[in-house]
């Protein structure tokens, strides 16, 4: 049922949101009536989930098939040492509800693939791609385009990363940029690259900010281009990229009308250590 009023406790909890003219009471109610799906409960998904929960997002979905490993704790800040060996979605749900018991947390303890992703994505207002493999990212792009769901893409490695928000069929999508499925052998092996935890923290926080901006209709989204950053030298750039008329999913003669398994099996990120 749609929430239309705020209690005194809610006014207090969200006072620093509400006092922002860009959000206000109306924006806070929009947030509390909204739903965001975070795909991946790792380095990006951890801060994204926590900030969305703190901000009062009504429903947060979390999809991940992995369990918490000791090597995750350096960057996946929603999981604690006691959680090693536990399902990531269960661990994340527990923390979110400790932070904000008012959030409806829905967990998907499975690997999203071309068979199941669309029916999950379609239940949410905004999707956060917090995965770590290009195959998963293209799958999320395609599912969101086919379901007409806005999402925020992010990829990180080392000290660097890139972020782009996609409003389907209106702004540049990932396939406008990546015109062919990359060969798995060309992709950097996640296990051979490090990732600084705080870099994932910044990127995931930006993704949560994009979700909140979309829901509250405030500010300007990071669309039609990539925000790239290299925190080693503290460089941030916004690279404008127009929609591609030849895009395979949102172009004039789009050929992708349904999902297939070609985008999902390029590399098995569960076995290469993951860099989420």
């Amino acid at each position: 049922m749609k929430k239309q009023t705020l209690s005194d406790k809610e006014l207090l909890r969200y006072s620093r949101n509400i006092v922002l003219k860009e959000i206000g009471i109306d924006g806070q109610l929009k947030l509390m009536n909204s739903s965001v799906l975070v795909i991946g409960a790792g380095g990006l998904g951890s801060p994204a989930c926590l900030y969305l929960a703190a901000a009062g997002t009504g429903t947060i979905g979390i999809a991940d098939f992995d369990i918490v490993d000791l090597s995750n704790l350096q960057r996946q800040i929603i999981h604690f040492t006691k959680d090693t060996g536990t399902s990531k979605v269960i661990s994340a749900k527990e923390k979110i509800n400790q932070l904000n018991p008012g959030i409806d947390v829905r967990t998907y303890n499975l690997k999203l693939d071309y068979l199941n992703i669309r029916e999950i994505v379609r239940n949410y207002d905004f999707i956060i791609d917090a995965t770590d493999g290009i195959d998963q990212k293209l799958l999320i792009n395609d599912a969101c385009l086919l379901e007409n769901k806005p999402f925020c893409h992010c990829g990180i490695l080392g000290f660097a990363g890139q972020i782009m928000t996609v409003i389907p069929h209106k702004t540049t999508c990932l396939r406008c940029i990546i015109t062919e499925n990359p060969d798995a052998s060309d992709m950097p092996s996640c296990s051979s690259y490090g990732i600084l935890g705080s870099v994932a923290g910044i990127a995931g926080s930006i993704q949560a900010t994009e979700a909140i901006k979309f829901i509250t209709e405030s500010g300007t989204l990071m669309t039609d281009g990539l925000l790239t950053f290299d925190l080693k030298d503290m460089q941030f750039r916004k690279i404008p990229i127009n929609r591609n008329p030849e895009c395979r999913i949102c172009g004039e003669h789009s050929e992708i009308k349904e999902l297939s398994n070609i985008t999902t099996e390029l590399c098995d990120f569960k076995n290469n250590g993951g860099n989420k």
């Binding site: 705020l6 005194d8 006014l11 207090l12 006072s15 620093r16 509400i18 006092v19 003219k21 860009e22 206000g24 009471i25 109306d26």
Partner: protein
């Protein structure tokens, strides 16, 4: 209609948020009698209420550190930004 709100136990920014929220639920011309503590709450809420286009009819000392501000709601474009 007349409405009452006691924010003597609240601190900034909740003082302003509760006031703005109450005003957002009222109609143009309605009166809000606001009980508020002296000092920063009285000063800042009075200023913010006027900035959002409402009319302060009176400010009266009630007792101790408590004051009563009588506000007449007036619709203003700026108010919609917070409410």
């Amino acid at each position: 209609m007349n409405y009452n709100l006691d924010i003597t136990n609240d601190r900034c920014p909740l003082t302003f948020i509760k006031t703005a929220y109450q005003l957002s639920k009222m109609n143009d011309g309605d009166i809000l009698e606001l009980l508020i503590s002296e000092g920063e709450p009285l000063t800042s809420v009075s200023k913010e209420v006027e900035e959002y286009g409402h009319k302060i009819i009176s400010v009266v000392h009630v007792s101790g550190s408590t004051y009563k501000i009588t506000i007449q709601k007036s619709s203003d474009e700026k108010l919609s930004e917070i409410s």
